[in-house]
Amino acid sequence: MAQPNNYGFGEEAALLKESARKFFREHFPADKLHALVAADHNPDRPPVCQWDRELWQQLVDLGWTMLAVPESAGGVGMPVAAVAGLVEELGRAAFPCPLLGTLSATYALVACGAGGEAALADIAAGEAATLALTNQHGDWNPAATEVEYRDGALHGTAWFVQDAAKCDKLLVCASTASGFGLFWLPAGAQGVTLEADAIVDLTRDQAHIRFDGAAATEVSGNALTALDSAFPAIWTLLAADMVGAAEWQLQTTVEYVGTRKQFDHPLGFFQAIKHPLVEVMVQIDAAKSLVYNAACACDTEQEKAAQYAHMAKAAASDMAAYACSRSVQSHGGIGFTWECHVHLYFKRQKHSQMLWGDGSWHRARLADIVIGAAA
C-alpha cells in the first residue's frame, strides 16, 4: 500500500500537536524544567527521579498516554504520524515523564495480538509502562536479553530501562524454553528490584532491574517477531522527540547569538556562527521529514517501516549530536555553566542519540536491507 501525500497528518493530528505545544509552553517552560531537575549539581549525587507527577496526571487525563492503544482495547487508536506530532512537542519541552516508554510498550503489546489485550487495557486505564530487554552491554538485539523465564518466573537483570522509576508496569523480554517471550508485570511486584543508574541526563531516570523469581504474565511467546514489528514505531517516536528537542536548541541558540554582541556585531553576524546554525536547521528538517515518512510507513506501508525508521533514527542521532555541539559552543562560557538551560537539552540529546541504536547502528541495519548482507 502506498503512503498518503500528507503523511496522513490530518486535522486531528494538527490539533493534537498544537494543543501539546500550548500545554507545555504554558505549564512547563524551560525555567521550570531547570528548577525541577537541576537543583543538585553535585556530579557525585546519588540517582534521584525528579518529575512533576501532577502534570503527568494531567497528560494522562487528557488521554495522551493511550493515544496509540487501539480502540478495541479502550484507547484512541491514533496513527503513529499523529502521535509523532505530540512526541515532537514533548521533546521540545524535554518533559521528564514515562510517555515514550508507555508508547513503546503499547506498540509492542499491539504486536502481541490477543495476548496483549489485558495489558493494553492497563495502559488505557492510565498506567505507565516501559520496555526491559537490553543486556549489560547495551545490545539492542532483544535476543541478547539476560532475563530468563523458568519455573513460571523471571530471573536475571534487564539493563538501561528508561524512566523505570516512573512506571507502574514493565514489559520484559526473556528467553524461554521455546525461544523468547514478552512478560507483563507490576514494577513493584515481589522479586523485582529496581536499581537506579546515576546518569548524565537530568530529564530521565534509568535503572537496571533485577528479577529474582518474579511472577509475570506471558503476553507473547514470540517476542522477537512482536518487537520487530514494534521497533520501527519505537525508533521513529524517539527520533520525533529528538527533532523537537533540537528545535529548542536551535531557537534558543539563534536568540542568544542575535542579542549577544562582540566586536561591535551580534554574534550571528559572523558566518562561523551563522553557517553552522543553518546546518543544524538543515539537519533538523531532514530528520523531521524522515520521521513523518517513517511514521506514515508504520501506519500505511508496514513492509517499508523498518527501512524508513532506520533512516529517521540515524538522521536524528547525527543531527542531535551536531545540535548539541553547536548549542554549547555558540553560547561561549555561559553555555558551559550549570545555570544556563542549554545543558539540559545537551544531556537529553546525547542520551537519545545512543538510545535504541546510534547512527551507525541503524545504517548498518539499513544496509542489510537495501544492499543485502555483506559477504
Binding site: A2, Q3, N5, N6, Y7, F9, A13, A14, K17, G85, E247, L250, V254, V257, G258, H265, P266, G268, F269, F270, Q271, K274, H275, L277, V278, E279, M281, V282, D285, A286, A287, K288, S289, L290, Y292, N293, Y308, M311, A314, A315, S360, R363, A364, L366, A367, V370, I371, G372, A374, A375
Partner: protein, 412 residues
C-alpha cells in the same frame, strides 16, 4: 513516483496524464548518435543541440511544455499540469530539455514582468526550444555580490545602448536571447539596476561577441559575452526602470526551485553516454566493483557512507513532500530555500562517494575503454562544483537561510 501521484490527480490532471503517457509511448525519441552531456549546461556541439531541440519541439507541439501558461502566450492553459507532464517525462526516461535557462528562469520572469505583446512574441519559441535563452547576470566584478553589476545601458530616445562584459554565461554560444541585468544609474547600487531581454544572436559581430570558456572538465558550455554599443529597443525592458533587482529575484527564486511556476523538466534517459545520478546507481556500482577478495559493497565503511548518502537523498525527497503539509511547517520558506543547497551538495557527496567506490579506476576518464561507467563519475563529480557555485554559491545560500529564515543579522 508517477504512480504515487496519479492517485491524487484532479480530473483534468488524470486525463492529461493518460494523454502524456500515450504520447510518450509513441513518440519518445530514439537513441542519439552523438554522446550527450550530463546536463544541458555542457552542450558543446550543434549535433548535440539539434537532437535535443528536436525533442523539445515535439514535446512542446504535443502540449507537454508550458502547460500551465495561458494560451495567449503559447502555453497550454491548464491548471497544475506541468507537474504531471514532468512526472511522466521523467518516468518515460526521455532526454532532457535543452532550453533550461529559458524554461526555468527566462519564462517566469518574462511572464511576470514583460509587456503583453512581448510575452506573446517571445514565449512560444522559448517553449518550443527554437530560441535558446541564456542568462547574463554575472560579471568579472559581480558574482556573489550580484548587485555590483556594471554593464551599462544608456538611454537614447526609445533605445538603450549597452556596453560591458558578462561572464559564465551558459548556453550563450547557442542563444538567440539573453535575460540581462544592467546598470542604468551609477549612483544607486540596487535601485540603479534595470532588467532587459536582449536578442544576442542577431547582433553577433554587431555589438555582441561571444567567446567560449573551458570548464574544469574540459567541456565547453559557458562563455563570456562582450557588449560594444549594442542597441536595444525599450519595449524589451522588463518592469520599470530601476526595478531590476526585484525582477532578478523572480528569476533567482525560480532558478533555485522555490518559485511559483513549475519548470518543465524531463530526463532520465539511459544509454551508453548518459547515466542516472543517484545513490542506487552507486550501490549497483559497489556491487560490481572488486575490492580485495570481495565486492566494494561488502566494505563496512563504504556501506555506512552509502547509507548516509541514501538517507540524505531520502531526506530531501521528504522535505519536498513535507513542504506541502502546512501543519508540519514552522516557516513558509524554510524548506523551499534549502532545495538548491541540498540538491547541489547531495550531488557532490554522491560523486565523491562514487569515486571512492571505484578506487583507482576513478582515474580513468571518458575516452578510456576500461573506465567504469564510461568515466561518467569523475565527470559528474567535477560538474557538481558547477552546481555548488552557480545560482548562488552554497555559502550564499547559507547566508540567505540564516538571515531570512533564522532571522540572524545580515553578513556583509
Amino acid at each position: 513516483m508517477s504512480e504515487e501521484s496519479a492517485r491524487k490527480d484532479t480530473p483534468e490532471q488524470a486525463e492529461f496524464r493518460t494523454y502524456c503517457r500515450q504520447w510518450l509511448q509513441a513518440n519518445k525519441p530514439g537513441e542519439p548518435t552523438v554522446r550527450l552531456p550530463q546536463s544541458p549546461l555542457e552542450i558543446m556541439t550543434p549535433e548535440q543541440l539539434s537532437y535535443l531541440q528536436a525533442w523539445q519541439k515535439s514535446a512542446y507541439d504535443a502540449g507537454l511544455i508550458g502547460c500551465d501558461y495561458p494560451v495567449e502566450v503559447g502555453g497550454g492553459g491548464r491548471k497544475d499540469c506541468q507537474k504531471v507532464a514532468n512526472e511522466e517525462m521523467l518516468a518515460a526516461r526521455t532526454p532532457f530539455l535543452p532550453n533550461v535557462i529559458g524554461l526555468g528562469m527566462a519564462a517566469p520572469t518574462v511572464f511576470y514582468h514583460a509587456r503583453e505583446e512581448v510575452k506573446a512574441e517571445l514565449l512560444p519559441r522559448l517553449f518550443s526550444g527554437e530560441d535558446i535563452w541564456c542568462q547574463g547576470f554575472s560579471e568579472p566584478g559581480a558574482g556573489s555580490d550580484l548587485a555590483n553589476v556594471q554593464t551599462f545601458a544608456e538611454r537614447k530616445g526609445d533605445k538603450w545602448v549597452v556596453n560591458g562584459h558578462k561572464v559564465w554565461t551558459s548556453l550563450a554560444h547557442f542563444a538567440e536571447w539573453m535575460i540581462i541585468l544592467l546598470r542604468t544609474d551609477k549612483s544607486h547600487k540596487y535601485d540603479g539596476l534595470s532588467y532587459f531581454v536582449v536578442p544576442i544572436r542577431a547582433a553577433l559581430g554587431k555589438g555582441v561577441t561571444v567567446r567560449p570558456l573551458i570548464k574544469i572538465t574540459g567541456e565547453t558550455g559557458f562563455n563570456e559575452v562582450i557588449f560594444d554599443n549594442l542597441e536595444v529597443d525599450d519595449r524589451y525592458r522588463l518592469d520599470e526602470l530601476g526595478k531590476g533587482w526585484q525582477v532578478a529575484m523572480t528569476t533567482l527564486l525560480h532558478e533555485r526551485g522555490a518559485g511559483e511556476l513549475q519548470t518543465p523538466r524531463a530526463g532520465g534517459m539511459k544509454n551508453k553516454s548518459s547515466h542516472t545520478i543517484s545513490s542506487s546507481a552507486v550501490i549497483d556500482l559497489a556491487k560490481t566493483t572488486r575490492r580485495g577478495a570481495g565486492a566494494a559493497a561488502d566494505d563496512p565503511i563504504l556501506r555506512d557512507k552509502m547509507m548516509q548518502q541514501l538517507i540524505r537523498e531520502e531526506g530531501l525527497k521528504q522535505n519536498q513532500r513535507r513542504s506541502r503539509v502546512p501543519a508540519l511547517l514552522d516557516h513558509p520558506m524554510r524548506l523551499l530555500l534549502q532545495n538548491k543547497l541540498l540538491a547541489s551538495e547531495i550531488a557532490q557527496s554522491l560523486g565523491s562517494l562514487a569515486l571512492e567506490v571505484e578506487g583507482m579506476s576513478s582515474s580513468l576518464y571518458l575516452a578510456d575503454p576500461n573506465a567504469p561507467a564510461g568515466g561518467q563519475w569523475p565527470l559528474a563529480y567535477m560538474n557538481s562544483y558547477g552546481m555548488t557555485i552557480a545560482a548562488g554559491t552554497s555559502e550564499v545560500q547559507r547566508n540567505i537561510l540564516g538571515e531570512r529564515v533564522l532571522g540572524l543579522p545580515k553578513s556583509k
